[in-house]
């Protein structure tokens, strides 16, 4: 039987679409920039002074652990109701709603994919919007005033940043807070912050190279490849894409020794430079919002470096907890806590999912992911770092 020519479109159309899906990303990668050495790219990055831009940041983490479902569509009441109605045999299917607090929010932000829109105008105006499905979280900084708004719960927090604070004191506070945020890897929604952190790690224990010129968010970019020499490190290499024109870090990708896909990636999907409408930074809570006013002394020195409200919340939460201690330096630094923070919700530890992720090792239990290993010793101490389990065990002794 002869097949009619009229079937040609049915074959041709999918073929064209498949071709387009393959060819378009390839084309975007064809970029050739004047050659620079690794140190020149770092200088370019350090000199970056982009003060007005807006863009969408996409953060994807694939840590090799199941992403915890802090489902925004299911509330605690709904779960309770489901548990009531379902026959006992189906109890396992009731979504476990884990208490939402600073720590679970942080974990949620670390796992999975997030889209964040950022608007930056000058040094004292910024707005970051975490685009949740059917909801949104906003952080607005406008001069000495800041707002945090959560559409899902219709709650807002506000406060003022006291500019009169003793600069020396402020600098120390700022440093402490940033060190702390870095040590628990929280400052994760800004490619710039992570790129700066990684460049600070560069020393004689790292190899730095310039990779292939490529295109990120429609802009041509240099690629900085940083690989730690330390065997104990879980980091295989980090790739920083630096905008060839402005020096702004556009994307950071971190590869683990444990898997071939990037374990963590945060970068601009789109970016545009230029003035931003000032009205975007003026926020008045809508009617019906529960507003909390925060004490500025809790938050001094925060706003200008902040990219999410979590750090502020975490700092407030962990204020009284034992300060973490950092053992070792560079890629092999290990954070030590004398005890598990009281804030880790008991429900989380009790879930089967979490129990499955813990493996027994001599002297304790290990929570293992592509980039971070956490050792919980039998005596209750906590060691964590981007290092191998063997190294963690040797440090704990």
């Amino acid at each position: 039987m002869r097949i009619s020519k009229r079937w040609i479109p049915s074959v041709a159309v999918p073929a064209v679409i498949a071709l387009g899906a393959v060819a378009v990303p390839l084309q975007a990668n064809a970029v050739d920039l004047p050659d620079l050495s690794a140190s020149e790219v770092m200088v370019l990055m350090q000199k970056s002074e982009v003060l007005e831009f807006s863009g969408t940041i996409v953060k994807v983490s694939d840590m090799g652990i199941p992403s915890l479902e802090f489902s925004s569509m299911v509330s605690e009441d709904m779960a309770d109701e489901m548990a009531e109605k379902m026959p006992a045999e189906f109890a396992d299917f009731v979504p476990a709603v884990i208490e939402s607090n600073a720590l679970t929010q942080a974990m949620e932000l670390v796992s999975g994919t997030h889209n964040v829109r950022v608007y930056v105008s000058g040094q004292d105006k910024m707005r970051a919007q975490i685009l949740d499905p059917m909801s949104q979280r906003d952080l607005i900084v406008n001069g000495d005033e800041f707002w945090i708004y959560d559409a899902k719960t219709a709650t807002a927090s506000t406060g003022t940043i006291d500019m009169e604070i003793d600069p020396a004191k402020q600098a120390t506070a700022e440093k402490e807070v940033l060190d702390y945020a870095e040590s628990i890897a929280l400052d994760l929604s800004s490619p710039e912050a992570i790129a700066n952190y990684l460049v600070d790690m560069i020393d004689e224990t790292s190899t730095v190279e310039v990779g292939k010129d490529h295109s990120v968010a429609g802009r041509s970019a240099y690629q900085l490849l940083i690989s730690p020499d330390a065997d104990a490190s879980l980091v295989e290499r980090a790739e920083i894409s630096v905008d060839s024109e402005t020096g702004l870090p556009l994307r950071v990708e971190i590869y683990s020794t444990q898997q071939s896909e990037a374990a963590f990636s945060v970068g601009f999907e789109s970016i545009s430079f230029g003035p931003i409408d000032a009205s975007l930074f003026e926020f008045a809570p809508p009617a019906g919002t529960v507003v909390t006013t925060l004490d500025s002394s809790d938050l001094e020195g925060y706003a200008d470096k902040d990219s999410s409200n979590l750090e502020a919340e975490l700092e407030a939460t962990f204020k009284d907890a034992a300060k973490p201690q950092v053992i070792g330096e560079d890629w092999r630094s290990v954070v030590y806590l004398p005890a598990l923070p009281a804030d880790v919700p008991a429900e989380l530890m009790a879930t089967e999912l979490f129990a499955d992720m813990l493996t027994e090792v001599p002297g304790g239990k290990v929570f293992s992911s592509a980039l971070v290993n956490v050792l919980l010793t039998d005596s209750g101490e906590v060691y964590m770092g981007a290092v191998t389990i063997e190294y963690l065990l040797s440090v704990s002794k």
């Binding site: 009619s4 009229r6 079937w7 040609i8 479109p9 049915s10 041709a12 159309v13 999918p14 679409i17 969408t56 199941p66 992403s67 569509m73 509330s75 009441d77 709904m78 829109r117 919007q129 685009l131 499905p133 059917m134 909801s135 949104q136 906003d138 708004y149 559409a151 899902k152 719960t153 219709a154 709650t155 807002a156 789109s270 975007l280 926020f283 809570p285 809508p286 009617a287 019906g288 919002t289 529960v290």
Partner: protein, 276 residues
């Protein structure tokens, strides 16, 4: 010139047939009933929903009636809206075939391709009618039962009443675009059979399958290719500044589905022996 006026008159008669059918009006009435039931149920209960409780937006309805349309769209999207779309799209060719009218349609100097295009455009008109009915009924019942005023967007900013109505229209258009891929699938399925109910059922099933696949994290590589993937992203139109990224991605994706299934429908319909 002749061909153009022929197409126009064919389109006119297609729309006339569609909008004089009792079934079309019954479906639009059922669509309108969703926001009405929702608003009445919310108005009758004295219990105040806390923010974040229940489906998204539901707690806002009592403060601003305009949210009724958004909540109703959200509730109708998984099943009810695709169901009505499948009925219309599944009926396009198979319905004529089962009534025995397809032969007569093609006896007139109307090419099969032109008939397909007209049938497809007819379903798009129905999709727009459906989504606007949902929004309009929501707006009207909301205005009767609740106060209306400037809408608070997800970003916490408030927009004027006029702009709010503009956003409602945008959401209706977005949802109609979301349905266009499904309608193309339905059109293709409709060329495969002379039993309209079969084509309708198959189309609804595909919409369901696509939504289930979209929820399986193991298939995350496939998600952005599923025609249901951006359905709920209409929420991006309720942000300030408005986020048009998902509108663009959704339109491109739906165009892809229209091209693929339109081509399949063309190939199938033009090579098929019309016996009834």
């Amino acid at each position: 010139m002749f061909a153009k006026s022929l197409s126009l008159s064919l389109m006119r008669s297609e729309l006339r047939v569609m909008f004089t059918r009792r079934r079309t009006w019954a479906m639009l009435a059922a669509i309108a009933l969703i926001p009405i039931l929702l608003a009445v149920a919310v108005a009758l209960t004295t219990e105040q929903l806390a923010p974040g409780e229940g489906p998204p937006f539901l707690d806002r309805v009592t403060q601003n009636g305009l949210f009724t349309g958004f909540t109703a769209t959200l509730l109708a999207l998984p099943l009810f809206l695709p169901l009505t779309m499948a009925v219309v799209a599944g009926d396009t060719i198979a319905g004529e075939a089962s009534l025995g009218t397809l032969r007569y349609l093609l006896i007139a100097p109307v090419g099969r391709l032109r008939l397909l295009v007209v049938k497809y455009l007819g379903t798009i008109v129905f999709a727009l009618a459906g989504t606007f009915t949902l929004m309009l009924a929501g707006g009207i019942i909301g205005a009767i039962l609740f106060p209306i005023g400037p809408v608070t967007l997800l970003s916490g900013d408030q927009i004027s009443l006029a702009e709010s109505i503009g956003r409602m229209a945008l959401v209706a258009i977005y949802t109609a675009i979301s349905m266009s891929g499904l309608l193309a699938i339905g059109l293709f399925v409709s060329t495969l059979t002379t039993v309209p109910v079969g084509a309708m059922a198959a189309t609804v099933v595909l919409a369901g399958v696509s939504q289930i696949l979209d929820n399986l994290p193991q298939l995350s590589w496939l998600h952005e290719w599923l025609f249901t993937h951006y359905w709920l992203s209409f929420a991006d139109l309720l942000r300030q500044p408005i986020e048009l990224g998902s509108l663009a991605s959704n339109s491109l994706l739906q165009l892809g589905y229209i091209a693929v299934f339109g081509a399949l429908a063309y190939s199938r319909f033009t090579t098929k022996d019309i016996l009834s």
